[in-house]
Symmetry: C2
Subunit: 295 residues, 2 copies
């Protein structure tokens, strides 16, 4: 069994991005600039955004954090999105989700210029990904593919079972892994809450991507010898073992599943660290106008 | 075994659309108007476009056919697309594919205003479909879902195996059938040229959508008792039996497979007739501004 060390891979990519930024600046180019809009003071969102801003600094990006209180109107927020769309100094930006209930997340996402949509949530990016065209791929699916690639895991002709059909993980990762590409060329099965006998599908899988958000769902008797298991779950469960009073639990019962796997990601330290780094890669691409050309 | 009669369903929907057009006109509304651009004189394209124009007449739509010779420049074609985008009299339009090699099909598709993209090929429509938002769904996948619906075929929790991963059938139909919806809520497996042991997957399927474009690929020993089989294949093979000198062959070896099925579509007369009718439904929706509101 080989542990997929997402933390180490993310650290390596961070160095690679920092190096590329240096080269861009050395040749007279512009420092990539990511903006983030944060509404309210949700604990999780605060942590994520702080971490994104910090990583920007580490790789040499400029970053701008724009904060609104919980009671910001939808119009005001959309106005800021349009302003960022127009601002030539900003290469890419994100609006941290979730948003307060009185604001339509979908409307906000669709108002973002898809050429600056480094989260990859805009329908143009989702659609282009499905068609197999260059686009901003959302962070978690991109991170998963990067891990498969960095560990040189064979995917062509493999049976990949995706557990979960969310718009941010299950559906896009399934779409990516069925493309004519590497990583890709998998036979892909998408399972979800309505699937009957999910165990049967898991036992047939060469690769399992667990993205149900159901702690320790995947047990040892659901995985066959030699499988590759990617655990996308990150559910906070209360714990007396940690200072914070909670612990992150994956979708995989690690102690049972790991011994059977050829490769497995831990939680934390697997897919998680890749998510922010994928956002950084998208920002670098946006800065280089690497997908949609000059705006 | 029950034969799914796509011709009869299409005829029924044609009546429903015609009735709705009458009501729109009676209440002072505007007649839906579809435009089609046809480049060159490809036999297949000529037939398809003629059939679309004829069906428009039958349901009471206005239609406009715009023809170009094979040597039209990309710029000229894109100029016409922009003109149709701006023309408030045109509710929806299509550019018949394939296009000559010197013209980028993708560029043409992306130039179409997605709000008039009744073929559903624009990335915005593809992306919104994947996310589960209202959009123009492309004709063949929409036609397949409509057949499942009209025959009241249970899909929730069923294992649907999609053979083929094309952008116009395999991928979108897989996306649709995994959505939280009816028809939908299937466990979906997408198989393709790289799949090992495709027979194994087919034998486990409750529903098979065959869209490989490989005549008579699906044999009797690949299907289990009671399966639902949807045949999307339409390959022209030469034949001495017909006046035209060719015959349409599906992806299913019908005589072997049909006796085992609970439901099966024939070729011709199955999915085929639903394709044009789905385009008409999209045009009706476009005319009513039923998805994206007033332009």
């Amino acid at each position: 069994m080989k542990l997929i060390d997402g933390k180490a891979v993310a650290a390596q990519i961070k160095l690679e991005i920092a190096e590329e930024v240096k080269q861009i600046l050395a040749s007279g180019g512009k420092r990539p600039h990511l903006a983030a809009i944060l509404v309210g003071h949700d604990g999780g969102s605060e942590t994520y955004v702080a971490s994104k801003v910090k990583t920007c600094e580490e790789v040499g990006f400029q970053s701008t954090l724009i904060r609104y209180e919980e009671d910001v109107t939808e119009d005001e927020l959309l106005g800021k999105v349009c302003e960022l769309n127009e601002n030539p100094g900003i290469d890419g930006f994100i609006v941290q989700l979730p948003l307060p209930k009185h604001i339509s997340e979908q409307k906000v996402i669709e108002t973002i210029d898809y050429r600056k949509d480094v989260d990859g949530f805009h329908p143009v990016n989702v659609g282009r990904m499905s068609i197999g065209l260059p686009c901003f791929v959302s962070a978690t699916p991109a991170g998963i593919l990067e891990l498969l690639k960095r560990y040189d895991i064979e995917t062509s002709g493999k049976h990949c079972v995706v557990l979960g059909r969310s718009n941010i993980v299950g559906k896009p990762v399934a779409n990516l892994l069925m493309q004519k590409a590497y990583p890709g060329d998998c036979t892909v099965t998408v399972c979800h809450s309505r699937t009957k006998d999910i165990k049967k599908y898991c036992l047939e899988a060469d690769i399992i991507i667990a993205a149900l958000g159901s702690p320790e769902f995947l047990k040892g008797d659901m995985v066959r010898e030699g499988a590759v298991v990617i655990d996308v779950g990150t559910t906070r469960v209360s714990s007396t073992e940690t200072k914070s009073g909670f612990k992150l639990k994956g979708d995989v019962k690690f102690d049972e599943v790991a011994p059977k796997c050829s490769y497995i990601t831990p939680v934390p330290g697997g897919v998680g660290p890749m998510t922010i780094i994928s956002l950084m890669r998208n920002t670098l691409l946006a800065g280089k106008k690497g997908i949609y050309g000059y705006l």
